[in-house]
Amino acid sequence: MIEIKNVTKSYGGKKGIENITFNVNDGEIFAFIGHNGAGKTTLIKSIVGIHGFDSGEILINGKSIKDKPEECKKEMAFVPDNPELYENMKAIDFINFICDMYEIDQKTREENIKKYAKMFEIENSLNDPINSFSHGMKQKIALISALAHNPKVLIMDEPFVGLDPKAVYDIKEIMAEMTKEGKIIFFSTHILDVAEKLCSRVAIIKKGELVKVGSMEEIKGDKSLEKVFLELEN
């Protein structure tokens, strides 16, 4: 479970997020939506330990990201919105590097890398350097690296941007498969249709503050998620 309790983060006096509180339960696909600059990436970076926060607490399966960052990170995988990977590396070397950091044994990584490389139809490019890849291919490499270590919590920032329709379909399948195993999927998105179809719960953030959180039915009632979102934004 991810527990976010009264988290506040500012950048040099400028508010990033303020007093955010909600939980994401095991086996849930949870969407985090909001306008550009609303604070989605700030919260995601706080959850995955990329940057600290001024006050509050974030617990990953009961462990504090502040006190035990390495233990928390070991249970998570993060896919950023703009995959800034190591351009000088070959794709396979990058994936190996990430697996080394998570101390994944040879057998598990072989199985997972082969499985996801085949799924994303990128097997023949794994020996190529990342600087020769398009945005979408880099995103696929980031996804394979994230999935290769069987994370209990998968956190993604705008995961569908730049991906081809086949890859988007594959991610949805992976998400469904992971939740069946009781794993958590937490992602931010602007594509409200996807959020509406995939997610069990959703949170809407506006100008750094949480304006709504709950199950999809609670949030949208008999309206569409898009309509609810636009009403809240206005």
């Binding site: 703009n82 190996n96 020996n127 020769s132």
Partner: protein, 538 residues
Amino acid sequence: MKKLLSLIKACMTENMSIFKVKTKNQSETSKKILPIVLFGLVFFSMWSYANILMESLVELHVEYILLTLFVGVTSLLTLVEGIYKSGNLLFNCKDDDLLLSLPIKKSTVLFVRMFKFYVFELLYNSLFLVPAIVVYATKVSVGISFYIVSIIAIVLLPIIPIVISCIIGFITTGISSKFKFKNIVQIVITMGIILVVFFASYNINGLIDSLAQNADSINEVITKIYYPAGAYIKLVTEFNIQDLLIFIGIHILISVVTIFILSKVYFRINSRTKAVSSRKNSNKEYKIRTNKPLNSLIKKELGRFISSPVFVTNAAFSLVLFIIACVLICVKLDSVPEILASRGMEVTVEQIQNYIPIVLFGLISFASFTSSITSSMISLEGRSFNILKSLPVKPSKIILSKIYASVAIMVPFILIGDIIFFVRFNFNIFEIIGIIIVSFILPLISETIGILVNLKYPKMDAENDSEVVKQSMSSMIAVFIGMGLTGVAIILIVMCAMFGLANYLTILIGTVVFIIIYLLLLLYLNKSSVKDFNKINV
């Protein structure tokens, strides 16, 4: 013109961010003090050095030689620095796609990139030239024309070295872009050119002698060797407006013609450098290997180092010079007294042989303290720094991996130099042990300082590797600290020699002193590095 000014403004805002003062809290303000103190120290050192030189020049009534010397050395440094980084500064810019899609002339884009290069060199040159000009003005009675000419000279003098280095950058990038292994070819060509320039400038005595025999005055000799220096000295000693206009005109003409000609081929070379020939690797069976986290991190750092020609050439320069110096001392020891005699130092071969271990100690200090690799390693992560921060690895391990990778690059060079000395000369066992310890400790000190400095002064938004390796606050501070530590090593050696200590005792004292320095640095590293690492937000 409006477009050009807007473009310059946009690029310079980004490029000169290292000089911005935008901090409010105390810990951030204290970070401003170190660079100010170091820049002040360099300025003061140059001023003191200029004063000492001036004392003897006044007696000979050739005061203007001071200006010649400083202009010559500064121009040579700008040229060598420029050769390192011009290829990268001009051809590896992240804003290529944006600029090339805008309705701007090709020559304007090239001009802006060369202008950024120029502004940095102007500021850097001023650090060396202004003290010399101040000393000259205090010792010689000068009129208003001296100040006008000197200000114009400071502005114009970086132009010719920059133009030459840009042409060399075009040639090296143009040639290397035709090869599959572009980086290796570029590293080899650049290192070759730098070494040629370095040794040519070292052996310039012969050229000066032959020019002097056919010249009526020293000024004429200087002008023949390097026009800008000669023209500046002539304007200082016998000012006339016509020569000043020619001086300005030549520099402007050279800049305009160079930009015009280079812009014709700039985009062709630029697009060729971006072509990736790696597709041939497709369909090869990929290998899945398992490594320990620390080993994998070190491997990643070594890969990053090798992938950047400017990073390699910058680090390798001192190390290659170290090997060359070791070989020359071992092979041509008999000619060293002659070389030193031409510089006013009377020593015999036997005297040098007596101090061989100390000479090696000095050379190791030079090689270690003048090649800080870690001072760029955090900045070179750029936006991918977030990958490191999201990994389940302690920041201290990441920091250590960078230090170990850098030491692994440096130590083999130093050990080769050691072995050359051990084979050629007689060292006792204590000297050998001391030298080997020093060969590890000094690079460790240099690289620990480098990482500490880079964590305090990261530049995560650089346009290319050159901006980090050659033009960032971190790399400059590391160079200044390295110069200071080389000074500490030399003072230590001289003091021990003055007390008549045996070589092995001198090396022992040096080893103990530097081990203490290293332990203190380790304490500081443990205390502050993780905090600084976590503070960096990309």
